[in-house]
């Protein structure tokens, strides 16, 4: 990807592992980056290290998305790329998912990306922009232990496709990256959130969990002109997890 093709990017959820790796990756090639997130400490550290602009905000608060987008457009004076990396994970089968957990997942993983995309579409249309959403392998192959999360990610994946159709006449591309279990990403949040069963998350045929920087590489590619023919696409970065029923869990 050349810096010339993706000059100005908003990364939502930039204080998370994958979002943060995306910010780092885009900054190495000189893109102007604004990122949002809830974690003030991580935001400040990432901004200091990369020179990206941090806009704190919790997408579940009313008006937060509009405020983040307004500030990003002000700082960047336009927009070439939008990376939807906001997301939360909740480890629970559907039958044990509370209304509160369900609402948090739908609001954060589905409604917030919709609001971000809608708010950014006009700006992205000005110069042939690109949207990349971080979905999940669970969007394609749901995980019973991550019931509502799987549902939310399927909906997000579909949103990137519908945005691709809608953006096609406006010069806006929209694609999804589906990471497998990502080391230091959501996978670690799962393990912290609930007592596990002593088993690892599924290990793909490649033998290794995905890394955040591998996901960031895919995002950078989909934002770039090199991916100019791709819209409505899904790029799995999962070590072969979805290719077949070959993932195994190992006792830790």
């Amino acid at each position: 990807m050349s810096a010339a093709t993706t000059r100005r990017v908003l990364v939502t959820g930039g204080t998370g592992a994958i979002g943060g790796a995306v910010v780092e990756r885009l900054r190495t090639e000189g893109a102007e980056v604004v990122f949002s997130g809830r974690n003030l400490t991580r935001g400040a550290v990432l901004a200091g290290r990369t020179g990206a602009t941090f806009v704190p905000g919790d997408v579940r608060e009313s008006g937060a998305v509009a405020a983040i987008v307004a500030e990003a457009l002000g700082v960047l004076r336009g927009l070439d790329g939008l990376v939807l990396a906001t997301g939360i994970l909740h480890r629970s089968p559907l039958s044990e998912t509370t209304d509160d957990a369900w609402d948090a997942l739908m609001e954060t993983n589905v409604v917030a990306p919709f609001l971000f995309a809608r708010a950014c579409l006009d700006a992205l249309s000005d110069g042939g922009g690109a949207i990349v959403a971080i979905a999940s392998g669970a969007a394609d192959w749901p995980e019973a232990e991550l019931g509502a999360y799987s549902v939310s990610k399927r909906a997000l994946l579909w949103m990137t496709r519908m945005l691709a159709v809608e953006g096609a006449t406006r010069g806006v591309r929209s694609n999804a990256v589906c990471p497998g279990h990502t080391a230091a990403g959501m996978g670690s949040i799962v393990d912290r959130a609930t007592p596990g069963d002593g088993m690892s998350p599924p290990v793909p045929p490649s033998g290794a969990h995905t890394t955040a920087s591998e996901v960031a590489e895919a995002v950078a590619y989909l934002l770039s002109d090199a991916a100019g023919g791709s819209t409505g696409a899904t790029l799995s970065v999962d070590g072969g997890m979805l290719a077949a029923l070959r993932a195994v869990r190992v006792r830790q």
Binding site: L94, S95, R118, V165
Partner: protein, 256 residues
Amino acid sequence: MSAELRGKTALVTGGTSGIGRAVVEHLAEVGMQVAFCGRDAERGASVAAASGASFIRSDATDRDDCDRSVEQAASLLGGRLDLFVGCAAMIFAAPLGSTPEPIFRELVEVNLTATFRYSRACFEVMRRQGRGVITHVVSDAALRGIHHIPAYSVTKAGVLALSETLAAEAAPHGVRVNAICPGAVFPGMQTTPEGYEHHAEDASTWGSAPSGRHGTGRDVSNAVLWLASEAAAHVSGATLRLDGAAGVATRGVSRA
């Protein structure tokens, strides 16, 4: 396959119109005890009178209503629930870029959250019984998005994932969960946000499926009956495309 369902109990959401109504009528016709939910009291009363099924007035946007309707159904049906059919849904035709936030949220609430909450409640009953069948009427929009109803497509994709995921969770408990994905069905959905009712009322602009016609509610209710029967005893987590081959391949169009 229908005889075995006689006397069994069913709860149907969205039963006052369209596919849901056809499902209510068909289940009652084969002798099931049926309770059904819907918003419109007048339509509900007329479906109840014609079918003998019990109407429970309930608005899928109202969570208290939903909870109450499940309790009411349980008491109407003698505490046993053999079949749940989720048909309640709302449609909206506009690009995402011009879909108002409250309408997007309403689509999530009605199509996705209410389906989840009904399914969770019904699964709880079925798990205690050690058997039961849940069938979600989803949409072909969940198999391939439909460009003029993007927000609807997003929520229906979520419902399909819900159906698959719940199937995996429910299987060890003797509960089967499946999805039916109909293509264009007439009479179609009447539940649209205020001011957009015209989207669902008129099929004159619809192209027919390669089969030469639109789907009917009876097509869908036939599939519901089969999925509820012992003939489908090992069918769970399945998606049944029911669209007269409309969505399986691109097609050349002959122009005169």
